[in-house]
Symmetry: C2
Subunit: 355 residues, 2 copies
C-alpha cells in the first residue's frame, strides 16, 4: 500500500499536494499550553466533509441491545467532560526517513494540544447495551474516498476495554467552541494517549462487533511493518514519548536556519507520551546531555513543559532533546525505520549559529 | 534573492519545511462564504511572534504632527468596522512554474475569506496629522529574521492615497474573535484588494515617510521580475482575477486523483479580483467553455460563488475554470513566468475520472 522513494529523491508532487492541505504546528506554538485552533496540526485522508448539523445523526448499532440514533442536541445534553489532550499523528517524523515512505511527508510538527469537550463514550455504549460477546467497537466517519484500491469511509476500531475507558469522549467542542469543519464537525471520537488516527472525525456510526474489524485503516494501515511484503506488522496504538523544543533565536527565510545571540538562552519545549507520564527530558548540546527542568503537565493526557538554561558561546552548535516516560521508554538517537513511517520518535536536532 | 530550481527537480527540503509550516486552504472549504479561522491560508516569513497584549503598543510616528502610542484597548474603543475580505498570497500557484522559484511552494490553495473587524487606519492617520510632503506610510511588524542577507523586521509601505482609503483597517478580530497568533495578534493591517503581503501582521509601528520606502519586502521582494539580474520589475499590488472550483467527486489517498459518479454534477467554486468586481466565470470541459451562473458577492472586497451544471459522462475529463473582472482582465491559459513566481493566476485544471 505504501510506496517507498529512492534514496535522495526530492519531495514528489503528490507529497507536496498532501503537505499543502495538511498542516503541522509551527514549533514556536509549543509556547502555548493549549494550541490555538488554527495552529493545531491536521491530517485528513480524503476531503473534509461539509455536514449539516440539523440532519446529522449518530447511529449506534451492531451487537447491542438497543440501537440508538442521536441528534447533536441530544449528545450535547448528556453529561459533559472537558480535558486537555495532546494529539500526535502516527506519521510524525516520516519525511526524515531514508528511504522515505510516499504519503504525507511530516517533519516534526504533527502534534498539538487542545481542550476538548464531549460526553463520555462509555455512557452511550452502556445505554445501547453492548452484548457480552463484543470484542471491538468500530467508529465510522463521513469522510469517503479510495485508498489501497478500495472505495470506503474512514473507519477504525478500539478493543472494547479501551472503548470503555473513562477518558474516551465523543467530542463536540475544541478550545471552548464547536469543532471547526476540519476537526470533525459536528462530532468526533477522542481517544487520549493514542495516535491521532484513532480519534475518528465526522463520526457517523458506532458499531459493536464480535470479530476484530478488518477495515483498511485498521488492519493494513497504521502498522509497524519491517518489510512491505511478508510482515503485516504490529498495530500502532499509543503515542511514543517525544520532546520537542521551540527552535531558539530567529530564522532566515526561506531556509529556516537558526541564529541565536550569544549569552544566556532559555531552551524551552514540551514533552509527552501516551503510555505514562514523562519522567525526564534531556537536552543535548554538541554531544553532551543535560537534564531539563520539568513543569507540571497541562493535564493527565497532555504535554508538560520543560526548560534548560544554556550559556550560548559564539559558533555553530547542534541542540537535541529527548524524553523518557515512566515506563522507561526513551527516544532513540538513531531512527528505527519501518515501511509506513509510523511511530517515528527520533530525537529532534536543531543546528544553530550563535553570534 | 530568489533561487530557481532546475527543470524537473523534486521539491527540496527547504520547500517542504515551508509547506509544513505554512498552510493552504483545502479547496473543499470554498464551500463556505467565510472560511473557518483554522482553514484560512497562512504565510509567515519568520517565526510567529508571541506578543503580550498588556505591554504591546502601536507607535505612530515619522512625518506627523503628533506622535501616538496606542494600547490595544484604546484601539478597540475607536470607531469599528467589520468587512468580509478575500486575501490571497502573491505566490499562489508558484509551485506549478517550470523552472520553479525556490521559496514557499504554493499550489492553488493560498486564498481564503474572513470577516475582519478593526478601526479605519485613516482616522488614526488623521489624529496623528500626516504632514503634507508625506509620500508613503510604512508598516512594521514584530516578526524578525534574516532575508536577502539582511537582519530585519518584516515591513511594507503603502502610497499615502492608498493608506487613506476607507476600507483599510487596523484589524483586531477575525471571524468575530480576537486574532489568533498566526494571523497577527494583537493587531494587523488589512488592505482589501491587495495581495496578502501588504496586510502586515503583528503591527508594531506606523511611520509617515517623505521618500519611497526601500525595505527588502517592499523594494526587492514582491516584484514582477522577468530576469533575475537586470530587471527590478514592477511592484506586486492588487490581486489578479482568479476562479477556483471545489474539485468534484471524491479523492483517492494519498494521490488525490478525483472520481465522480456519472450523471448531473454541480461544479461550484468562488471567484475574486482585487481591482474590480468579477463579471464572468467560465468552466472548461475537455476544451469547450461554458458560462457559470454567478451568485452575489459575499462583500465588496470578497469572493463571489459560481455554479455550472455538468452532465458527466463516463471517462476521463479535464475541467478548468477562469474568471474575468470588470476591467476586462481574464485569467491566462498559459502561465506568464516571472522570477519570484508572483501573481500567478493561471486557470485551475482538475482532471477527473467519471464512472
Amino acid at each position: 500500500m505504501v510506496e517507498i522513494a529512492g534514496a535522495g529523491q526530492g519531495i514528489t508532487p503528490m507529497e507536496l499536494a498532501q503537505a499543502t492541505r495538511n498542516r503541522g504546528m509551527p514549533l514556536e506554538a509549543l509556547e502555548h499550553d493549549l494550541t490555538p485552533t488554527g495552529l493545531h496540526y491536521l491530517l485528513v485522508h480524503f476531503d473534509i466533509p461539509a455536514l449539516d448539523p440539523a440532519s446529522w445523526r449518530l447511529r449506534v448499532g451492531g451487537n447491542v441491545t438497543t440501537e440508538l440514533e442521536l441528534t447533536l442536541d441530544q449528545i450535547r445534553e448528556r453529561p459533559a467532560a472537558t480535558i486537555p489532550v495532546t494529539l500526535e499523528c502516527a506519521g510524525n517524523g516520516r519525511a526524515r526517513l531514508e528511504p522515505r515512505p510516499m504519503t504525507q511527508p511530516w517533519l516534526n510538527e504533527a502534534v498539538a494540544t487542545a481542550s476538548w469537550t464531549g460526553t463520555p463514550l462509555r455512557s452511550v455504549l452502556e445505554e445501547a447495551g453492548v452484548a457480552p460477546n463484543t470484542v471491538e467497537i468500530v467508529f465510522t466517519g463521513a469522510d469517503h474516498g479510495i485508498e489501497g484500491g478500495e472505495e470506503l469511509d474512514y473507519a477504525r476500531s478500539l478493543p472494547l476495554t479501551d472503548a470503555l475507558r473513562a477518558e474516551v469522549l465523543l467530542a463536540y467542542e475544541m478550545n471552548g467552541r464547536p469543532l471547526e469543519p476540519q476537526h470533525g464537525f459536528p462530532l468526533r471520537l477522542l481517544v487520549p494517549g493514542w495516535y491521532g488516527m484513532t480519534s475518528v472525525k465526522w463520526l457517523a456510526r458506532i458499531t459493536a462487533v464480535t470479530e476484530p474489524f478488518r477495515g483498511l485503516h485498521q488492519a493494513v494501515a497504521y502498522h509497524y511493518q519491517r518489510t512491505e511484503d511478508d510482515d503485516p506488522g504490529e498495530p500502532v496504538t499509543r503515542i511514543r514519548p517525544r520532546a520537542l523544543m521551540i527552535p531558539p533565536g530567529f530564522p532566515d527565510f526561506p531556509e529556516r536556519r537558526r541564529y541565536v545571540d550569544c549569552g544566556p538562552v532559555s531552551i524551552r519545549g514540551r514533552a509527552w507520551s501516551g503510555s505514562a507520564p514523562i519522567s525526564r527530558v534531556e537536552v543535548g548540546i554538541d554531544g553532551d546531555w543535560f537534564d531539563a527542568a520539568l513543569a507540571e503537565p497541562v493535564g493527565e493526557w497532555a504535554w508538560r513543559g520543560w526548560t534548560y538554561e544554556w550559556e550560548a558561546a559564539p559558533g555553530h552548535h547542534v541542540l537535541l532533546c529527548r524524553a523518557t516516560d515512566e515506563t522507561g521508554e526513551v527516544q532513540p538517537l538513531e531512527q528505527p525505520w519501518n515501511v509506513q513511517g509510523v511511530g517515528n520518535n527520533l530525537a529532534q536536532e536543531v543546528p544553530v549559529t550563535v553570534r
